[in-house]
């Protein structure tokens, strides 16, 4: 079983300061880290690795990303590979995945690729599927748990309202894992020291057999960065027909207009409790006693 994990080098959001006027990030004060979702992806890969298996970590990023790959090696990854080329400008997901797909092919293709579901910088959670398209592999997103049995992978996906779906996918496959599933293990001191000056193999476009034209994809142009302003959500607009008092009352209740529900003003607590139970049964929240 050979597993590949994609690691991204990202600015720590808690160190980001945005100029309130221009929306520009003060780069001088930013600290970088391993994308949190990738950290759990790496840990899961290490837990999953059978005795004869390997975990290889990949990152597309500048020299600083070496630190992150070294951290991964210290934690127990078997090999690391970094992709970068000075010809690369800002990384668009489609470019990243073209490079990652090529890098995965450098070594024999793995059986499973784990990605984080989302990167916390400018990411959009599209890397797993884009990579899947390049490799023509299946992909499962929003994964919270998974296991492998006889060549098939079973994964749980997050649905709305805390529900989960259980999916099955054939290998080789790509998974996009949610953030915070598990913590990355701590490296031992000797490992930490060993990797500190371990050189990380670097692949540029040439080594990957790509030319700049291969990276030419249509993508929207970044026009402007701005400080965050949440969008105004659709709000209840009071019915213009009513009286002033009514409209004020409606606004005050945040548009939650009165519900003409049933109000039970009298009765003993016992009767009231019965009324609640009857109501819950009637609306299907409780099973009717038979």
């Amino acid at each position: 079983m050979r597993i590949a994990v994609c690691l991204k080098y990202v600015p720590d959001p808690s160190t980001i300061e945005v100029d309130p006027l221009t929306g520009m990030i003060d780069i001088g004060r930013v600290l970088y880290m391993m994308n949190p979702a990738d950290e759990s992806a790496l840990e899961l890969a290490l837990r999953l690795r059978p005795p004869d298996g390997t975990v290889t970590v990949f990152s597309v990023g500048p020299i600083e990303a070496d630190r992150l790959l070294q951290d991964a090696l210290a934690a127990g990854a078997d090999a690391a590979l970094r992709v970068w080329d000075d010809a690369l400008g800002s990384l668009k997901p489609i470019v990243t995945t073209t490079l990652l797909a090529a890098a995965l092919r450098v070594k024999a293709l793995p059986d499973l690729v784990l990605c984080g579901g989302h990167s916390v910088d400018r990411g959009s959670g599209t890397v797993p599927a884009l990579l899947a398209e390049h490799l023509d592999w299946p992909v499962v997103t929003d994964v919270t748990q998974f296991e492998i049995q006889s060549g098939r992978l079973r994964a749980r996906r997050r649905l709305a309202r805390g529900a989960r779906a259980e999916s099955e996918v054939t290998l080789p496959a790509i998974l996009g894992l949610e953030t915070g599933l598990v913590h990355l293990r701590q490296a031992s001191l000797p490992n930490l020291m060993r990797v500190k000056y371990t050189p990380i193999p670097l692949y540029g476009l040439e080594e990957l057999g790509l030319s700049p034209q291969d990276l030419h994809f249509p993508a929207m142009t970044l026009h402007e960065v701005m400080p965050p302003r949440p969008r105004a959500r659709m709000m209840f607009t009071p019915d213009v027909g009513g009286s002033v008092q009514e409209r004020v009352a409606q606004i005050m209740s945040a548009g939650v207009a009165g519900k003409a529900g049933k109000i039970l003003e009298s009765g003993t607590p016992e009767q009231q409790a019965d009324a609640i139970i009857a109501f819950l049964c009637q609306r299907g929240f409780l099973e009717q006693p038979t």
Binding site: L189, P190, N191, L192, K196
Partner: protein
């Protein structure tokens, strides 16, 4: 660089990448010895309270000539203000110096942001050949036959060996205690500093503080600002931010049931301070202990196989006019490094050999300064200097300047009346004058 340093013996292990540790590691590495610098933070300076005046420019200049040209410094400190406060007034002494080593090389002091500065300094040590390991919390010393032979890092297989260990792990040093060199401190020997960094436009800073170009100013405050809690406050200008904070003695904070951040809020709301910090945007908030009792807190500085430097050794001068720790940290770190180098040359790491440390500290003026100011801390932390006198000065000035139709009084009768009104006895006043003189004049 060495390829497989794990399980190998280092000549020197330095614990803590603050100014003391990084300076020590730098010097040891330059001597061609194998040195390991261990830091618990994710990077050096990550855990250090940011925003400070670094008065060790000349010291660092010896090591790295014209260091300020490459280091992340904020502003050279060309003005210093000391303000005596009452709840509504303030009297300030303003010292300005345009040249003579304040605004020109080698400079007297710089404001720095610690996370950046500490990181840079550690990088210098690394460039000189030190092995810098971050995310490494040291949680014990290793002994063989009573001698300290290394440390244990809180990780799997965390034992690592060195001929000399230099503990630079800051105030309340865990290592010094583990080695039996330091006792537990009393709350009255420690202060708690709370600090904020407020972002502000450089142009506003220059206007507001009347600064030319990139010059900086350091304010120190005494008196009512800390209410009845013993301590003081400070405000420094960085390039595009202000560092400000309040320092309060831990014991009096506890006694008076005061929360440090309440004091900080009060300080920021004081009429003399509020206009200076107006519009500042909070960038960081942090709290940290400071050893305050100077010479009295000094631990035993060495034992078989180990030296203690910086705040860990209590080398922090926090006494009224002075708030200096980084420079002494660096000086003592260098003195420890020199000692360790000597021990390595001799191949002897006993307490006897390491006792040269004391001589080295003297040569670097660390022990001399602390001996000289040994009376300052207890006095400065006394209630009268803390609260009464600054307030009297401030109130006195108010009465001198106030024009309200009442007959003007000359200063001496005014002062006499104020002393009479206060609870101070004349004998006490005389003793205090003597103490001020002893603490600061001779």
């Amino acid at each position: 660089m060495t390829t497989h340093p794990a399980n190998q013996q280092f000549d020197v292990i330095v614990v803590g990448a603050g100014p003391a540790g990084s300076a020590a590691a730098l010097l040891v590495a330059r001597a061609g010895l194998k040195v390991l610098l261990l830091e618990r933070g994710e990077y050096p300076g990550a855990k250090n309270v940011s925003g400070a005046v670094f008065y060790g420019s000349a010291i660092l200049n010896e090591l790295i000539p014209n260091w300020w040209e490459q280091a992340p410094v904020e502003r050279p400190v060309c003005r210093r203000d000391i303000a005596f406060m009452s709840p509504t007034t303030a009297v300030a002494l303003d010292f300005r110096c345009a040249g003579a080593g304040f605004a020109t090389a080698p400079y007297n002091g710089f404001t720095v942001l610690r996370p950046k500065f500490d990181r840079w300094l550690a990088a210098q040590a690394e460039a000189a050949g030190a092995f810098v390991l971050t995310s490494a919390v040291v949680d014990d010393v290793l002994r063989e036959n009573g001698r300290i032979v290394g440390v244990r890092v809180r990780r799997e297989q965390g034992e690592i060996y060195g001929k000399v260990v230099i503990a630079c792990d800051g105030v309340n040093s865990f290592l010094a205690k583990k080695a039996g060199l330091q006792r537990e401190f009393h709350p009255h020997e420690l202060s708690l500093g709370v600090k904020e960094v407020l972002g502000l436009d450089p142009a506003i800073i220059q206007d507001r503080f009347h600064l030319t170009d990139n010059d900086g100013i350091a304010y120190e405050y005494l008196g009512a600002i800390t209410e009845d809690v013993h301590g003081g406050a400070f405000l420094y200008t960085n390039r595009d931010s202000l560092s400000l904070g309040v320092i309060g003695q831990v014991s009096s904070l506890v006694e008076r049931r005061k929360r440090p951040y309440e004091l900080l809020e009060r300080f920021k709301a004081h009429p003399a301070v509020a206009p200076l910090v107006r519009g500042g945007k909070l960038r960081e908030y942090s709290a940290h202990l400071i050893p305050e009792s100077g010479w009295a807190m000094k631990p035993k500085l060495y034992t078989d196989g180990m030296l203690v430097a910086g705040d860990a050794a209590g080398f922090c001068l926090a006494a009224g006019l002075y708030l200096e720790g980084m420079n002494y940290a660096m000086q003592s770190g260098l003195a420890a490094a020199e000692t360790a180098i000597l021990a390595c040359q001799k191949g002897n790491f006993s307490a006897r050999t390491l006792s040269v440390y004391q001589k080295n500290l003297k040569q670097r003026h660390v022990s001399t300064d602390f001996r000289a100011y040994r009376h300052a801390p207890s006095f400065v932390n006394g209630p009268r200097l803390q609260n009464l006198y600054p307030e009297m000065v401030a109130q006195g000035m108010e009465q001198i300047f106030r024009v309200d139709g009442a007959p003007k009084r000359k200063i001496l009768p005014l002062a006499y009346r104020m002393v009479r009104q206060s609870s101070i006895k004349p004998g006490q006043l005389l003793r205090d004058v003597y103490q001020v003189a002893r603490a600061y004049l001779w």
